[in-house]
Structure formats: C-alpha cells, structure tokens
C-alpha cells in the first residue's frame, strides 16, 4: 500500500529500472540527474502557474470579484496565456543601463531559488539532498537573492528601481534576523539542523503543539518575518505600485520580468514549505494521542499530500495578509523589526531553551 502511493517508492522503482536497463553506474547517474533536473524544472513551472492562478482567484474572491474565469475551465489556462504573451514581448534593455549586470540579475534570482529547494523534504524519504546543515543552508542560500535584487535595481539606472532595491535590501537583511532566531528556537528542540531529523522529531506531535508558547510565538514571528522577506504585502514597499511603479524590476520586460515573477512565487512556496516543515510537521500526518483508528485513517493519506496541504495552507495565510493589512511606511517597517520583533525573538530563544532544558517538550 505504502509503496503504491509514496514518491520514494516511485523513485526507487525508477532507479532500479534504470540500473537494469543501462547497467553502467555512470550512465545511471547521468540519466537520473537529467530526470531529477527535468522534474524539478517542471515542478517549479507548475508551481508558479498554480500560485499565480491561486493569487488572482483568492484576491478576487476576497474583493467579491470573480477573477480570471474566461481562458480554460474556471480560468485555469489564463496564466499560460499570460506566459505566452510575456514570451512574445520585446526584452528591452535601457540605453543607460549597466548591460552586463542588468542581464545577469534574473539568472541570479532563478539560480538562488533553484538552489534553495535542495534540502526540502517533499514526502517521506523524498529529498534532493538531505544535508546535515539543512536549515542553515536554506537561510544562507536564500539570502543571496538580495544581491540579485540590488543588482537589478542599481543597474537599471532608474530612480524608481534604485529606491525599490535599496528599500528591499534594508528590509530583507533586517527581517532575516528574526527568521534566523525563530528557526533557532526549533533547532534547540530538535538538536539537529537536518531537515529529515526535524520532521522525524515531530512523529508524536507537531512542534507548534508540543513546543508550548515559545513555539507559537516563533511561528507567528516566522510568518510575519518571512512575509517581509519575500516582499509581499503589507511589507511590499520595495514594489509599492502607487509610488515606485514596480520597484526594482520597473525596467524589466518580457521573459526577464517573468523570471523575477517566477522566483517571487517559488520563494513564497519555499518559506511556506519551511514553516510547514519546522512547525507543522512536514510530511507527518496529523495524529491525536491514542486514537489509533483515527491515526490509521490519517496514515492512509500520502505523505506528499500532507506536505503540500500544509504548505498551501501557509501560502493561503500569506495571501490573506495581503488583503487584510494596509502597507507599512519604511520607518514603521524598520521599527517593527528592530524595536519589537528582534528583542521578542531573542527573548523567545531563551524561553525556548528553558522549556527544552526542563524537558517540557514531548
């Protein structure tokens, strides 16, 4: 039963089939890499289509509109039509721009988002690379994207872009601290930075339930700070449409613009996946204490569905924020981080250590 549903079983079968077919280990490795690469690219494209569609529909329903509903069934093909439109747009480069940096920036954004997906656990035993510093790796590599943003903004030689990029840079580096501290408060409980260890430690309850108040505080801080980290409303000062047109990607058009859009959506997925992994148990099914019948039914749902369900729940919350809170000013934004979130999360780390040392976590 488990083999039928599980992605790890599927990948195992593909591997053994390739070994029988090709024999040579080198050929197997190369063909595996090609398969993984194609799957990943396909997954990311599908993901950004889904999120693009979801964003517009959620926004529409929250404002009592219908949203895209003409192209394809329920408007699902709208986003593909948009991609084709973007493909046929002329990719302009401003005359005064720094041409090399201007063209390099989209590549940096995409490569960073690709690299961050490596340690994410999509299902039971289904990861690209389960490295022993998984959480640290994610927080380290994802901060490279700020270089891409600054590069894009500065090289455009446009005042809107420069302002947007500088704001975005200040915002991202500030909120990274709170994200790091809330990650650390979970690492204290697990005693490991490996993503698979963190998921396995939640077998008898997710950290948000087991970690008492400090875990809840850390979860809230993580969600708020990561909303700021990926430049989404109410923290979207970097691309505040009404004042800066589009912020750091004002000058980008066509496919280069699409790359920024895609990396934005994939980043949304990555932070939500991280929240789901650390606080909501990753691919672990929902269990209630000793209700073995209920637990058994929950086990029947494939682990990949659990992971996706939790991730999309967090994504929905972040989309909900956008239509609930008005945009902050720059000074309010920096005050929130430096005067409230940072001291609170520093205190929260100490509180969590106390909980862990007293052995209150399950």
């Amino acid at each position: 039963m488990t083999l039928l549903y599980s992605l790890s079983g599927l990948s195992y079968h593909i591997q053994s089939w390739l070994t029988r077919l090709l024999g040579n280990t080198m050929a197997v490795l190369v063909s595996e890499m090609v398969i993984v690469g194609l799957c990943l690219i396909g997954f990311l494209v599908l993901l950004s289509f889904t999120l693009g569609y979801m964003e517009r529909r959620v926004a529409a329903f929250m404002q009592l509109r219908l949203g895209p509903n003409r192209v394809g069934p329920k408007g699902t093909l709208q986003i593909i039509a948009d991609t084709i439109k973007l493909l046929f747009k002329e990719g302009l480069t401003p005359t005064n721009a720094d041409k090399f940096m201007f063209n390099l920036a989209p590549y940096i954004m995409i490569i960073t988002t690709m690299l961050v997906t490596a340690p994410l656990a999509f299902a039971r035993n289904f990861q690209i690379w389960d490295l022993n510093i998984g959480v640290f790796y994610v927080s380290a590599v994802s901060s490279i994207s700020v270089i891409g943003i600054l590069m894009a903004g500065w090289s455009s030689n446009n005042k809107y872009s420069l302002l947007g990029a500088m704001r975005s840079g200040a915002q991202i580096v500030s909120y990274e601290l709170s994200i790091g501290l809330s990650l650390i408060s979970i690492v204290i409980l697990t005693g490991s930075l490996r993503i698979s260890d963190i998921v396995m430690s939640q077998q008898n309850g997710w950290w948000i339930f087991k970690g008492h108040l400090p875990a809840l505080i850390a979860f809230v801080i993580f969600i708020v700070a990561s909303t700021a980290e990926i430049n989404r409303a109410p923290f979207d000062l970097a691309e505040a449409e009404q004042e800066l047109t589009a912020g750091f990607h004002t000058e980008y058009a066509g496919m280069k613009f699409a790359m920024f859009l895609l990396s934005e959506y994939v980043n949304l997925f990555i932070v939500s996946a991280l929240a789901a992994t650390l606080f909501l148990g990753g691919w672990m099914p929902f269990h209630i204490g000793s209700w073995s019948g209920f637990n058994h039914v929950m086990d029947f749902i494939p682990s990949s569905l659990w992971f996706m369900g939790k991730t999309f729940f967090v994504i929905f919350i972040i989309m909900w924020f956008r239509w609930t809170f008005p945009r902050l000013r720059v000074d309010q934004l920096l005050n929130l981080e430096w005067k409230y979130l940072l001291p609170i999360s520093m205190l929260n780390v100490l509180l969590m250590t106390l909980v862990a040392l007293l052995g209150w976590h399950g």
Binding site: I41, I111, D331, T353
Partner: protein, 116 residues
C-alpha cells in the same frame, strides 16, 4: 543525492533562465528606437543619472545587521548542542545575548534606528 545535486541545481537554474530568455529572444520581434531605451519615469524626462549618493540610514542598518547576523552564526551550533550541554550553555548564552542587547539599546539610544 549528495553534493553533486548542487551542481545539478545550478545547471537547472542556468538552463531554465537561459532557455526562457533565449526562446523569447528568438520568437519576439525587436525593433529598436531611442525612446524605448529611456528610463521609465512616467513620461517625465529624467534629470541626471540615478547612480548617485543615497541616504546614510541604510548604511547604519547594514552595520547593525552585520553584528546580529554574526550572532546568528554563533547561535546555530549552540542551538544544536544546548540540550546536551545543559544549564552552562544557557548561562553563557544569556550573558552573550545580554551584551548584544546592550549593543542594540546603545544603537537605539544613539538614534541609529531612527529613520531620516
């Protein structure tokens, strides 16, 4: 898959971004003219370049960020072993964090956290 996956992901990213942009370059019709190359500023002619000095506030925030980011790097290995080491680890990190917090308060008092 091991560390080889990093190279794979790097190639994937390059191929994806490069492929998309190349495809667009092939199929899209380009027609150059001088007006298209101007910076987009809502129709108003631009005055001067954008590569100018900007506000020092950003620099101050970058400096404080650097201090706290280094703190994070110290905290990650600490967090992994804290439950094994026990109360000594907690005492030490309380002292460490207290000093850092004093640093934050100092910056606050000096007005480094004030915008404009």
């Amino acid at each position: 898959m091991g560390s080889v996956s990093l190279i794979l992901l790097l190639i994937c990213g390059l191929a994806f971004a490069g492929g998309g942009i190349f495809l667009s370059w092939v199929v899209a019709k380009t027609k150059k003219n001088a007006v298209k190359g101007e910076p987009y500023e809502c129709g108003i002619p631009t005055t001067g370049t954008s590569w100018i000095q900007f506000h020092v506030g950003y620099y101050l925030f970058a400096l404080i960020f650097l201090v706290f980011d280094v703190e994070l790097v110290f905290l990650f290995p600490w967090a992994v072993v804290v439950t094994k080491v026990g109360w000594t680890a907690l005492t030490e990190i309380v002292i460490f964090m207290f000093i850092l917090f004093m640093g934050l308060l100092y910056a606050w008092k000096k007005g480094a956290l004030k915008w404009m």
